[in-house]
């Protein structure tokens, strides 16, 4: 079964990356980023529930421009992962498996993720 002589071509700069592939890679990257941010989320949640001082500390973070930027990036990661996940559900149900629709839905996911991020940006400003 293992054929060690199979040609391997993994030059990412020269491989054709259709939008569905970009989406798949982004699904993994956003997942890893969210995995890495789990401790920070739990820490801040715990701090905000622990004491009035902790609550003040967490809410005052929202005054910081840098924190808002991080929050927006996190929102983008989440929204992208969320909508790409819905797309995978649809593929599991054999909806839009063909190239034309697969491409369309991939663009919709990218657009929806960006749209949610822009809405978040407007709300924060």
């Amino acid at each position: 079964m293992e054929n060690k002589k199979r040609p391997v071509f993994l030059d990412l700069t020269r491989i054709d990356m259709p939008v569905m592939a970009v989406l798949s890679v982004a699904h993994r990257i956003t997942g890893i980023v969210m995995f890495l941010s789990i401790p920070a989320v739990i820490y801040l949640l715990g701090l905000s529930l622990n004491s009035p001082q902790g609550y003040e500390k967490v809410t005052s973070l929202f005054d910081s421009g840098l924190f808002r930027l991080v929050l927006l990036m996190a929102l983008w990661c989440f929204a992208h992962h969320f909508f790409a996940g819905i797309r995978y559900f649809m593929l599991d149900l054999d909806i839009g498996v063909d190239v034309v629709n697969g491409r369309k839905s991939a663009w919709c996911v990218l657009g929806a993720g960006l749209l949610v991020t822009v809405i978040g940006m407007v709300v924060m400003l």
Binding site: P52, L91, D92, V97
Partner: protein, 130 residues
């Protein structure tokens, strides 16, 4: 239905002769989707609830999270999130890390980190009292 249209890691593990372990890939595949459904419902539901009742003080925030229904659904959300993260990270590690020792080290590290996170978040969410 394309059940078990798997990740590369699934197909490595179920490459033909290990038929008896076939259901393991299916189970994780299903768990990844069931946890995703719950998380989607919780996030949308909680977001709507939070926006329509935005707490304005520490006490209000604490009261919101001390509510039994919120505490239980939120704890379940985080536990399923950690399961989801485990399956996702496991797939990614098994796809890209081919050095056995490093793979084992990363899988073990991620596993213990997620287990620790589970205990930490459960303790936080289930001990909120008003």
């Amino acid at each position: 239905m394309c059940v078990g249209r798997g990740t590369a890691s699934d197909s490595y593990r179920h490459g033909g002769d290990v038929m008896s372990r076939k259901s393991i890939g299916l189970r994780t595949w299903l768990m990844q989707r069931l946890s995703a459904v719950y998380m989607m419902l919780f996030v949308v539901g909680f977001a709507i609830y939070f926006i329509s009742n935005t707490p304005a003080s520490f006490l209000e925030w604490r009261m919101m999270m001390a509510n039994t229904f919120v505490a239980i659904t939120a704890t379940l959300f985080f536990l399923l999130l950690l399961v989801h993260a485990w399956i996702g990270m496991r797939d990614v590690i098994m796809d890209y890390i081919h050095i056995d020792g490093l793979r084992l080290l990363l899988l073990t590290g991620v596993g213990f980190a997620l287990l620790g996170a589970a205990i930490w978040i459960t303790k936080i969410l289930l001990t909120v009292t008003v």
